[in-house]
Symmetry: C2
Subunit: 337 residues, 2 copies
DNA sequence: GCGGCATTTGCACGCGCTTGCAAGGTTTGC
DNA sequence: GCAAACCTTGCAAGCGCGTGCAAATGCCGC
């Protein structure tokens, strides 16, 4: 293929009149090398355009510096926002992100993890889907660290970061009730993701505790289009809801557009709407959606700081998880406030 | 750090009763190995959870399989859409994407390219910013391939993929004129990206050719918020424009929201608007924006197929670039059609 | 001037893998 | 039946680097 000819440490050593080990040490923080030698080496290296080969370094150090991000539906606002802060935080701590898109086939989360193993990634962060238990075990046994974000898994071993979806659902119910709503609905996708289901069941349970029923409708993917379809279904019922909690902002946007433009329902006068994620459009003038903000930065920081925290205390991958709080962002789609 | 203990080829060899070379060959397509040996090896490998170490393989083969994506503003709809198709196509051709976020400091495109060199990436694809010429030369000299997307650079060596922005600008002018608009405006960000500037100058030039003037306004980043500010500036002029070409859909969304909700101007009756990119929201009911579609899939395919096309014909990095056509997506923000 | 110590340097080995080379085994043609 | 051709296989070298170890250097106090 391409004749790649990178400058090697040997060339730098020769030009600087030192041994190859000296070059190696010059690029290793804290190594035993005199300041003057280091300076000389760095100078020559810069002039020659030398860069440490991280493939080889990873081989020796048994630590590649690579962290694998496993994600599907990568173009959705929430996902891309999360990826953005994750890459930022990772780079900040000297690591580099490898991105695996799992949109294609089905068992591809497993395939993605295998890819991570091949490149000897220090860790994998899973944002979508759910790996098979066997492959999870393989990763852990190999010493790879695993982080699940909003996956709410029962498996022990991986580090899990979740939001308190049920609690949020309870809060939004209170807001609906205070606005005088009684005919409640929940609009969900059919994805069946744990966090989506937690929002749903949390909302239903909270309503039931108040003696109220919730009409639950699920359809398709977590997308704008699904939101429209859900509106179609929920707003044509004989008992039209006066408050809808959408599992996601994207659904909420589609829902609102259908409600306004198709059914000429005014929000929030005739219908209260809430979403989840606080994607960018939620704040746009056309939506002004009341929703829950995902603490993206906190999630990323927690993930990275767990990675930095050294070896797992308990060798037999002990359970470890945190649950974060989602702030309610109050805008204009719920009356009162 | 973490005691990573991956299964090695030696262990597989021992268990399968073959030499280490046999294992290596079993995992190399087209290598000289009997079908039976290969089967045996793969079986044992699977049982043991062996995975070829791509760091070591990359070291030997002088080809890591890594392609570095260098990008800023990663959460914007257009960027994330591009990243999505790029990762897809790369994975399809057996490569893996490394993601470098350049949001932080300024010279960080250069830093990103250095990172790509360290990991001996087979190629780098630059979606944002502009690398220094010296570092570009270093990459090329090292045998790294370079792709610039929508960067419209003059440098020879890198492969450049661009859109025909000027031609698109001409087409949108025709559409405006046909709708009876004569008071033209162009809303741009201050980013000064070549493609944004090409849209602007193309539009201005086309208008001038028709004897018409264009009011050009530039402000801030390429964002929704900037669109609102631009609307503020353009719609309060004594001579209010009746047609605005926004350099980007995001700007157009902000512009339209401000026009409607703040100035109570109806689109397209009183004001025609066009954007560029065809991001997802452009098709949403609240916007129905007439815009140009970036041929994302084609861009990604062209990029990857250029990577696969083997060594550069001309050793001294010859110029090589393509210019793609942006389709006009006709929706509801221009009268007539 | 010299022994003791701390610092710096070079040597050589190994990380896990690929691959040229030659040896061994099997098939084919005559 | 034997040589030539082919397919497989193992050996060993080497990819670029980090690092333990021992040798070399420099410094200090006496």
């Amino acid at each position: 293929m391409s004749q790649k000819v990178f400058v090697s440490a040997q060339e730098v050593a020769d030009r600087a009149g030192v041994s190859r080990s000296a070059v190696s040490r010059a690029f290793t923080p804290g190594a035993s090398v005199s300041p003057e030698t280091r300076r000389k080496v760095l100078e020559v290296a810069d002039a020659l355009g030398y860069h440490v080969n991280h493939l080889a370094r990873g081989l020796m150090r048994n630590e590649s510096g690579i962290v694998c991000l496993i994600v599907s539906d990568l173009a959705s606002p929430h996902r891309s926002g999360l990826i953005k802060v994750l890459t930022q935080e990772l780079q900040h701590s000297g690591k580099i992100a490898m991105l695996v898109n799992t949109d294609l086939s089905d068992g591809s989360v497993d395939l993605a993890l295998r890819q991570a193993i091949r490149y000897r990634a220090d860790a994998s962060i899973i944002l979508s889907g759910m790996p098979d238990k066997s492959i999870t075990q393989l990763c852990l046994k190999s010493g790879q660290r695993l982080i699940l974000i909003n996956r709410d898994d029962e498996q022990d071993g991986p580090f899990r970061i979740n939001l308190d979806d049920e609690e949020a659902a309870g809060r939004i119910l209170t807001a609906f009730l205070r606005a005088g709503c009684r005919k409640l609905a929940f609009a969900n996708s059919q994805a069946g993701t744990p966090s989506l289901m937690a929002r749903e069941s949390g909302f239903v349970a909270a309503a039931r505790a108040q003696g109220l029923d919730v009409v639950v409708e699920r359809y398709g993917w977590t997308s704008y289009e699904s939101g429209r379809v859900l509106a179609q279904r929920l707003l044509t019922r004989s008992q039209r809801p006066d408050a809808v909690f959408c599992a996601t902002d994207l659904l909420a946007c589609g829902f609102m557009d259908a409600a306004r433009h198709q059914f000429s329902i005014s929000v929030p006068q005739q219908l209260c709407v809430a979403g989840f994620d606080d994607i960018e459009h939620a704040s746009w003038a056309s939506y002004q959606l009341t929703t829950f903000a995902q603490p993206l930065t906190t999630i990323a920081r927690e993930a990275v700081s767990w990675l930095e925290s050294g070896p797992v205390a308990n060798p037999e991958g002990r359970a470890s998880a945190i649950r974060l709080h989602a702030d309610l962002v109050w805008r204009g789609t719920i009356r009162g406030g």
